[in-house]
Amino acid sequence: MKYTYYPGCSVSATANLYQESIDSVLPGLGIELEELDDWNCCGATAYMSVRELLSFAISARNLALAEKYHRDMVTPCSACYLVLNKTNRYCEEYPDIRKKVGQALEAGGLNYSGNIKVRHLLDVVVNDVEKEKIAGTVKKDLSALKVAPYYGCQIVRPEIGLDDPDDPQIMDELIRSVGATCVDYSMKTKCCGASLMGTDEKKALHLCKEILADAERNEAHCIITVCPLCQMNLDIYQSKVNSLFGTKFRIPVIYFTQLIGLAQGKSMKELGLGRLGVKISGEMKKIIEGA
């Protein structure tokens, strides 16, 4: 299965450990990614709310470039996923936007006819690869590992149709297919604050605290995410949460691809797990090493 790959800026920089785990895990699942040539930043959700039309135009450029590959385009980042899908939907539903975006593309010698389906990497891994195939690559017994799936807001809301917006299950399913134990908790679709961390840190830290607290209350060893920004907020800022609220969270926040890699018996180094903010230690380490 071959897809056009739109990495987005985060995985090329701050979240390069996500990229390393993707490179390490996907070939074993039969997923081949071909990077979109000459892609540009999608503008992320922040730009969308400042200059909507420009934001549509720059993300439509990526969609236009992708058309020559005649394949679905896959992105590992929730923000890219949302923005590219929103661009698709608005260009389809609003003739006025479609026209203006078309003019902008034309000025750059491009044209977008609306035929690119944008998918999240999680969608591809869960829905295009048979469960048995994923289970077949598992080498380690992670049944003692309690994993809390953290969906965040953007992959299920607004309703793109990937999963139930209130109670999504696809990551829960994935956790079970790699043999780990899935933790059911209430905060799995609550917002981590996203880019609010840059503008109103205290409020964002409060949001992160609630998610971490609920995961801990439900005895999760770790949290898995599908989004570089969610991962950064929950992981890198965990120590700030602790100092602000007097909590003692030590919950590693890893990417879903890293969890698959762990189950496949890949090394922490290969999966980029050595560079987490909150290191894998204690019980989780014992389970991984003992398995």
Partner: protein
């Protein structure tokens, strides 16, 4: 012989004349071939308007009539009768719609006038080719079938029975009573539901004109208005209703339970005994128990290991070898009173129903309040203690484009009733989370006013979420309701002990099947479609089939009872007529052309086309056929034609539209 067509143009006040230039259309019509007379009038459907047509016919000025006015749905029958009074066959009249399909839907006056001209030209061409048809009459069987034994079906059955007419009442549950039998009190009068319902249930059970078939389902409906053939499956109760006297010895010793025992108190809420042999509730009619085959040990063990109820029954009424019984009978009319179901709130994941103890549905709370229910009418939490605070969440599954767009009408009022009952029975604080208070009925607004002074907290806002994630200490161990209080303009988190979800009303599970059997349509809201939303609220597109109560739309008890009486009066008027005229514009199969492929048999929405095995051709039952033309269009051999809508008549109409009056 030359044909003389009269064209009659209706102004419909300003409805048509305000947009269509009537004089221009009249001038145009005068120039059409075979038109010998054109008249216009302010309201053609009025007495003087009809008299115009009738007089011209009596004076033999015309022998074909075209009326250009509103939709035939509205007045085709009116004008057919006018034409008949004038001495002309009513099928030599045709109607063209220049209101709903013309003046009401276009903006530009000139072009609207042009369209009206085209439509008139089309009808004139069609009128030229019309043929006289003869209507048939069929007798009406005075017996009536009522499907559903809730308050709607009970009322309809009693009305008819009191008028001396026979009724067969079919109820799928072991007892009649429906939802109303589960209620403790009714709003806004707070009178006891059972006290007002039970006497009527008993009357149904005892009435010599009512044959009650409880624990039974209608399996097939054949025939047509006045002459329906019904097949009913009476499910095996495993208790002989002739022998049983309802003493209760059987269930008092039954060792197994039909209600899951594990889990919290809410799962156990039930009105009648929770044993496998049970009566649904103590006032059941008929007062005969039934065995739940799925949980009964006798059936589970296969070997007949238990058999305690049979030993306990002094009258030998327990019959484990009982089987379903099929009964067939004929009726003249059918009243569908199949009721509603409540929305399943588990679909709204963020409200936590099914995940959290003490989040319950309105109907569960209703049963909890019932004195004969398993908590004895006490409001208790899963752990058996009394709640200190209760929230009532309105519009769960109603007024929500994700689930049901419609307003369920009764929820505001029953929510107020709950608040009152909680205040009466406990010291708990009560919150109402509402979008709008809709207190539409007699005495309803007054009841709302009364509750406002009963120390109930009203928060205007749709609840976003019910969670168990505490943020503050006071939220520990509580259900936290997050809601935007739109009057305060702020988001609030309110910790509560118990939450009641005021679930909306939907058509019952069996409704689509019943609708199909009776050839009635189900709307996109899930309720049965009546003939006309204002003027035909109980009849349907199928003659002789009527709809009442919660299966037609969500409604309260007074409206349901009123509608049930309306339907029984409509049925009585049919029965009194003794005969009914059958539409003559039906389909006809040319036996020489029919290949016997049976495609039309499956296409017909009214089950009017059947296969004649002997002749090996399809035959149209004229009494059932509505003349919809589906079979005509579908027949691959072109063997079926529709009387009054023959191909040549339709082609002439199409030519008329494009003729430009030439």
């Amino acid at each position: 012989m030359s044909v003389r067509i009269g064209v009659y143009l209706c102004h419909c006040g300003a409805n048509i004349a305000g947009k269509v230039d009537i004089d221009a259309v009249a001038d145009f019509a005068r120039g059409l071939e075979n038109v010998t007379l054109v008249k216009d009038y302010k309201f053609m459907c009025s007495d003087p308007g009809q008299a115009l047509i009738q007089k011209d016919l009596e004076n033999k000025l015309v022998d074909r009539v075209v009326v250009a006015s509103c939709s035939p749905l509205m007045h085709e029958n009116t004008f057919r009768k006018t034409v008949e009074r004038g001495g002309l066959n009513p099928y030599l009249f045709t109607m063209t719609n220049i209101r709903e399909q013309c003046s009401w839907v276009h903006i530009d006056s000139d072009r609207t006038t042009e369209k009206a001209k085209d439509l008139v030209a089309a009808s004139v061409r069609r009128a030229f080719l019309l043929e006289p048809l003869t209507k048939k009459e069929v007798p009406i069987n005075p017996r009536t079938l009522v499907i559903g034994g809730g308050i709607a079906g009970i009322q309809a059955a009693l009305d008819l029975a009191e008028a001396g007419k026979e009724v067969v009442l079919v109820e799928k549950e072991p007892s009649i009573g429906g939802h109303m039998a589960k209620f403790d009190k009714t709003f806004p009068t707070l009178d006891c539901s059972a006290c007002i319902l039970t006497p009527r249930m008993v009357s149904v059970g005892q009435h010599s004109n009512i044959e009650l078939m409880s624990y039974a389902e209608v399996e097939d409906v054949g025939g047509y208005v006045g002459n329906f053939n019904i097949r009913v499956r009476k499910k095996a109760r495993y208790v002989d209703s002739e022998l049983c006297n309802g003493c209760g010895a059987c269930w008092s010793k039954c060792p197994s339970s039909r209600v899951p025992r594990k889990g919290n108190v809410h799962e156990k809420l039930s009105l009648g005994p929770t044993t496998s042999i049970y009566m649904p509730f103590m006032q059941a009619v008929p007062a005969i128990p039934v065995i739940d085959r799925d949980t009964c040990l006798y059936f589970k063990n296969d070997s007949g290991a238990c058999g305690i109820c049979a030993k306990e029954c002094e009258r030998g009424a327990i019959k484990y070898d009982m089987t379903d019984e099929i009964v067939e009978f004929e009726v003249g009319n059918i009243i569908i009173a199949a009721g509603f179901k409540t929305f399943d709130p588990a679909k709204v994941k963020r409200y936590g129903y099914g995940r959290f103890d003490n989040v319950m549905t309105a109907l569960e709370f209703e049963v909890m309040n019932c004195a004969s229910g398993s908590t004895g009418g006490n409001i208790l939490m899963a752990d058996g203690s009394e709640p200190k605070s209760i929230g009532i969440v309105h519009c769960v599954g109603s007024r929500d484009s994700h689930y049901n767009e419609h307003c369920s009408r009764v929820c505001c009022m029953y929510s107020l009733k709950y608040a009152h009952l909680i205040k009466e029975k406990t010291d708990a604080e009560v919150y109402q989370f509402y979008i709008d208070m809709r207190c539409f009925g007699k005495g309803y607004e007054e009841f709302y006013d009364r509750l406002l002074s009963e120390d109930v907290r009203f928060v205007r806002g749709k609840v976003a979420e019910i969670s168990k994630v505490p943020v503050t200490e006071t939220e520990e161990g509580k259900l936290v309701v997050s809601v935007e209080d739109t009057l305060l303009g702020t988001v609030r988190r309110i910790p509560l002990d118990m939450v009641v979800l005021s679930t909306g009303l939907e058509g019952s599970e069996t409704l689509p099947e019943i609708a199909k059997l009776c050839s009635v349509s189900v709307g996109k809201d899930g309720f049965l479609i009546e003939k006309h939303p204002k003027l035909g609220p109980v009849s349907t597109a199928t003659d002789g089939v009527f709809v009442v109560g919660g299966c037609q739309s969500p409604k309260d008890i007074p409206d349901t009872v009123a509608q049930a009486s309306a339907a029984s009066s409509a049925v009585l008027s049919m029965i009194t007529r003794e005969k009914i005229e059958i539409e003559a514009a039906t389909s006809e199969v040319d036996e020489d052309k029919c290949s016997g492929c049976k495609l039309c048999n499956t296409l017909c929405p009214y089950q009017a086309v059947k296969f004649d095995e002997e002749k090996e051709v399809s035959v149209v039952n004229e009494a059932l056929c509505k003349g919809c033309g589906t079979c005509v269009a579908g027949c691959p051999s072109g063997a079926i034609s529709a009387k009054h809508y023959e191909d040549r008549q339709i082609f002439a109409e199409i030519e008329g539209i494009f003729s430009g009056g030439l």
